[in-house]
């Protein structure tokens, strides 16, 4: 194991030191570090980073001076001697008030920690390079997208080859597409994993590091006759091969066929996409293994479009614009060669930097992250105001000390610097605590689905980006929070203060503190309003009437098509339906082509047969078995359910049937019963309406309408997969294992997947909204708590400062209640000011989240009222102790 320089120091050297020095200095520092270790002196990352920084800055400064004159010493201390003194002073003074320091650090740490946690999330989702990919800045992704809109289209293998030939500005060009495949390492039960079917050169182009074994050879990548080879992820190696060293060469059943593991990818590599989740890679030449439902000749023709993801590596000195121009030339060439291809005519090839090929993923991530960053920066502003307040109060206490310093000749700037150093010290301590908070938060998020359609979050380690962010934030906040008290604290009326150290000209400063507190209340209100709006809209979404009780239904899917069933799957589905019906705990069951509320969606268009005019109706569609409606509990309004005879009956001779949802049926057939009427679906197929069911949103819950056209399962085309819907009597934990056994009894090699209650599937559709709503609520409650504690501090300190005044008032006959009212009036003033500003701020900012809201408007008075109520309660609780204390002072107060 060769020693390495700590990452930060290495990074500093790489960034700041001239090339001819870089390596030798790194080596010197390693040597010196080991020497320091032997001497038992501190030699950690910070030592190395500071040493690197001093060397780098020394060299940089000297090189700017030119060669005339002599070399100057690099100071052993950071050049500002005074700063060191200040640091010493600040440490001393903070140590003398540990409670103050602890509170300030805790509050700042919450502000910085929340920001760093969100930044960490953003880093994990967007910023960091794809693990394992060599020189990620050279990577480009090419997408086939609409000429006018940003939808994403897959492309065919011949078009991919045309691009590969035409994009000469790329040193390599590979394609991939995500599929779910079945794996099994007997005797373990089969399971379904995310996989990528890739062009043979995939690993070569990405430069993706292979930890053991190798990538695909040209033969494996290109020839269907080659023995089937796969590369597995580090994760799969650990779970399914128990991390054994001799994994290369082992056999894994993929879709029931034996394949040989030729390589294991490095840990963390799960495909070219940053948020990818692939555990297995199969070359497209091995279609017979990976995608047995297609024939290779079909799969590789221009008729089929298996590839979504296209990644290339830019050759040195090629710009993205050049690649784009070449892609346009390829597109023009293809159009000239295939003038009938209308699909191609509607598309263009877009080139973008990086490996993420799905623009909507980037957009959705960016939108959610921008919102969260905005919210946490509000929280940060609030903590800065709060700590600024604490420091102001302390500056007030130290008026005497500061006045003395000024009197004996310190400049105002010098005293201000001392105060800023103090605040910097607090901020950096807070930054360190914040990194701990960030680690804890990312542990909490581990395994959760942060955004719909992405794999669950893995361990998000804090890297140098997050570290730098936290440090930069600490620096910014130390200036922001320290500046105000520094300015106010140094504007001391010398004579007055020295004359009577206790009595202050502090009315002005108290107003400043009240203003800062009001600002905190304003920010709290804004966050609370935002949180309540998002929460209400969340509730609206989760309780959307989907037409039946989703919580009572369990779904799971099977894909016999992947195992190469072909026509045998019909009999399989019949056996499955019969077998599931026998399982104890199952009250009703039915089959559907698309699992409700999953990613899949289909829509259709129809006309009324024999009707004048050309009116078309559009709706979502699905194919279901008899008993499906009873299984999910969707009421049959009119007509009948599909029959066993219609189940898997091919659509021949115009005997096709459909069931419509109620509103759609009423719109399509305003007069008379829809049952028995006929409609014409695409390809001029005629269908008879046999029934009407209740309205339902079976695909996207957020969709505006509840229109569906149901067909018998297998009527339009045979499906290689199906979803089983089960109404349960028992608990999942009892029934699910029985269901697994039932399927295994029919085909032990066939796994079931996407096992979920339907209400959970609905919640997953709103994963990102739920995340944003939850975090906003947490931020808002933290903000309110901090603001209330801040107000409490300001009021109690005010009472202490006005002790004499209250005493005099009491002596002159003011009832305790009247004295207390002085305090409550102050609290009320702060509260009302804060609420007024907060309402304005909320009105301005809630427009940002307006597009995310459902069932509630951005100006929802209920949310505003509830947010204000929370703050009124918090203010009352914060003001109560101070008011009581003021009332108790009594005439004796004069004596103190």
């Amino acid at each position: 194991m060769t020693p390495r320089l700590p990452r930060l120091a290495g990074w500093l050297l790489a960034a700041l030191v001239p090339a001819e020095w870089r390596d030798s200095i790194a080596g010197d520092l390693i040597e010196e570090r080991d020497r320091r270790r032997r001497d038992r002196r501190y030699a950690g990352g910070l030592w190395a980073a500071f040493a690197a920084l001093r060397i780098a800055s020394g060299l940089a400064v000297d090189r700017r001076r030119g060669l005339v004159g002599k070399a100057e010493h690099v100071s052993r201390r950071l050049s500002m001697d005074g700063l060191r003194l200040d640091l010493h002073q600040a440490l001393k003074s903070l140590r003398s008030q540990p409670l103050y320091a602890a509170i300030a650090i805790a509050i700042l740490a919450i502000g910085i920690g929340a920001n760093a946690a969100v930044f960490n999330l953003m880093n994990w989702l967007i910023l960091r390079p794809v693990p394992g990919v060599a020189r990620p800045d050279e990577m480009v992704s090419i997408t086939a997208t609409g000429r006018t809109s940003a939808f994403l289209a897959p492309i065919s293998v011949p078009d991919f080859e045309a691009l590969r030939r035409g994009l000469t500005g790329l040193s390599g060009f590979a394609a991939y597409q995500s599929y779910s495949l079945h794996i099994a390492a007997p005797p373990a039960a089969p399971r379904r994993v995310e996989a990528e079917v890739v062009s043979g050169n995939f690993f070569d182009v990405l430069g993706a590091a292979i930890a053991a074994g190798r990538g695909f050879t040209a033969d494996e990548g290109g020839s269907p006759a080659a023995p089937p080879a796969i590369v597995i992820s580090d994760r799969l190696w650990r779970t399914d091969f128990a991390g054994r060293a001799d994994v290369v060469g082992q056999t894994l059943l993929v879709n029931g066929k034996a394949t040989t593991v030729v390589g294991v990818a490095v840990a963390g590599f799960h495909g070219a996409r940053l948020t990818g989740g692939a555990d297995l890679w199969v070359p497209i030449a091995q279609q017979a293994v990976a995608l047995p439902m297609y024939r290779l000749s079909v799969l590789t023709s221009r008729r089929t479009t298996p590839f979504f993801g296209l990644v290339g590596r830019r050759a040195p000195a090629t710009t993205i614009q050049q690649v784009e121009a070449q892609a346009e030339a390829v597109h023009a060439g293809l159009l000239a060669a295939f003038p009938d291809d209308t699909r191609l005519g509607r598309l263009r090839f877009a080139v973008s930097a990086g490996t993420e090929s799905r623009p909507w993923v980037r957009d959705r991530l960016a939108s959610a992250m921008t919102l969260l960053m905005g919210l946490v920066s509000l929280l940060l502003a609030l903590t800065a105001a709060n700590v600024g307040n604490l420091m102001l109060a302390r500056a007030k206490q130290r008026e005497g000390e500061l006045a003395t310093r000024l009197a004996i000749g310190a400049t105002r700037a010098r005293v201000a610097r001392l105060l800023i150093v103090e605040s910097a010290l607090l901020s950096f301590a807070a930054g360190a605590v914040a990194l701990g908070i960030t680690t804890a938060v990312s542990r909490l998020l581990e395994g959760t689905v942060v955004l719909q359609g992405l794999p669950p979050m893995a361990r998000a380690a804090i890297d140098w980006r997050v570290f730098t962010f936290a440090i930069a934030l600490s620096m910014a906040i130390s200036v922001a929070a320290g500046l105000l008290p520094a300015l106010a604290g140094t504007r001391v009326d010398l004579a007055a203060t020295l004359r009577a150290a206790g009595r202050s000209q502090s009315a002005r400063r108290r107003r400043l503190r009240q203003a800062l507190t009001a600002a905190q209340i304003a920010v709290s209100l804004t966050l609370l309003v935002g949180a309540l709006l998002l929460a209400r809209s969340m509730l609206t979404r989760l309780t959307t009437n989907v037409g039946f009780n989703a919580g009572g239904v369990l779904a799971f899917s099977v894909e016999p098509g992947l195992q190469g069933y072909g026509p045998r799957q019909e009999a399989f589905y019949r056996r499955l339906i019969d077998a599931v019906r026998q399982v104890p705990g199952v009250r009703a069951s039915g089959l559907a082509w698309l699992q409700p509320f999953s990613q899949g969606a289909a829509d259709t268009e129809f006309k009324i047969a024999d009707a004048p005019g050309d009116q078309k109706f559009s709706a979502n569609s699905n194919m279901v078995s008899p008993g499906f409606f009873a299984a999910i509990g969707l009421p049959l309004v009119e007509g009948r359910d599909f029959t066993d005879a219609e189940f898997q009956r091919k659509d021949e001779g115009g005997r096709g049937v459909v069931i419509l949802t109620e509103s759609l049926a009423r719109r399509a057939f305003p007069a008379g019963s829809p049952v028995g009427r006929r409609i014409v679906v695409p390809d001029d197929r005629v269908r008879t309406v046999v029934g009407v069911v209740g309205d339902t949103k079976l695909q996207r819950v957020a969709a505006a309408d509840s229109d569906m056209v149901f067909e018998p399962f297998g009527q339009t085309f045979p499906s290689g997969w199906a979803s089983m819907l089960v109404k349960l009597d028992g608990a999942d934990a009892e029934v699910v294992p029985r269901l697994r056994q039932t399927v295994a009894a029919i085909d032990p090699a066939l796994p079931i997947y996407d096992v979920t209650r339907l209400d959970a599937a609905i919640a997953r559709q709103f994963a990102d909204d739920i995340l944003v709503a939850r975090l906003t609520m947490a931020f808002a409650l933290i903000a309110t708590l901090i603001a209330a504690v801040g107000l409490y501090g300001v009021l109690t300190r005010g009472v202490a400062e006005r002790h004499r005044e209250f005493g005099i008032r009491a002596a002159l006959g003011a009832a305790p209640r009247r004295v207390a009212r002085l305090v409550t009036t102050e609290a009320l003033l702060v509260l009302v000011t804060g609420l007024a500003i907060g309402v304005g701020l909320s009105a301005a900012l809630s427009r940002v989240i307006a597009s995310r809201l459902a069932g509630v408007t951005a100006a929802d008075p209920w949310s505003y009222a509830a947010a204000a109520a929370v703050l009124i309660v918090a203010t009352t609780l914060a003001a109560w102790p101070a008011a009581r204390r003021a009332a108790r002072i009594g005439a004796g107060g004069i004596l103190r």
Binding site: P18, W21, D23, G27, I30, E31, G58, L59, V68, A71
Partner: protein
Amino acid sequence: MSTFSEKGLLGELEQLVLLAIPQADGPAYAVSIRDAIEARTGISLARGSVYVALDRLDRKGYVTSWFADPTAERGGKAKRCFAVSAAGRRALAAAEQAVARMRASRPARIR
């Protein structure tokens, strides 16, 4: 006598480093040079100073440098080794002479 070139007279830091290069233990590189100065004078230079002086001397042509083979204990990083060039020897001599002459000619009072 043109011993004061456009590059100026050597400063004391540069002189110390130039004098230390041939006296370093083993090959002369930043760490051994700093050690050599500390061992003989008790002066522990800041690490950065040594690099600044070496970098400056290198750019003035007073030292020549080369990279030794990387070793494992240095994390596979090569040492940058130094030797005094002929010009460096001349510059050192010039600086020493200038000081020696001024010393020799000063009046006894301030000796």
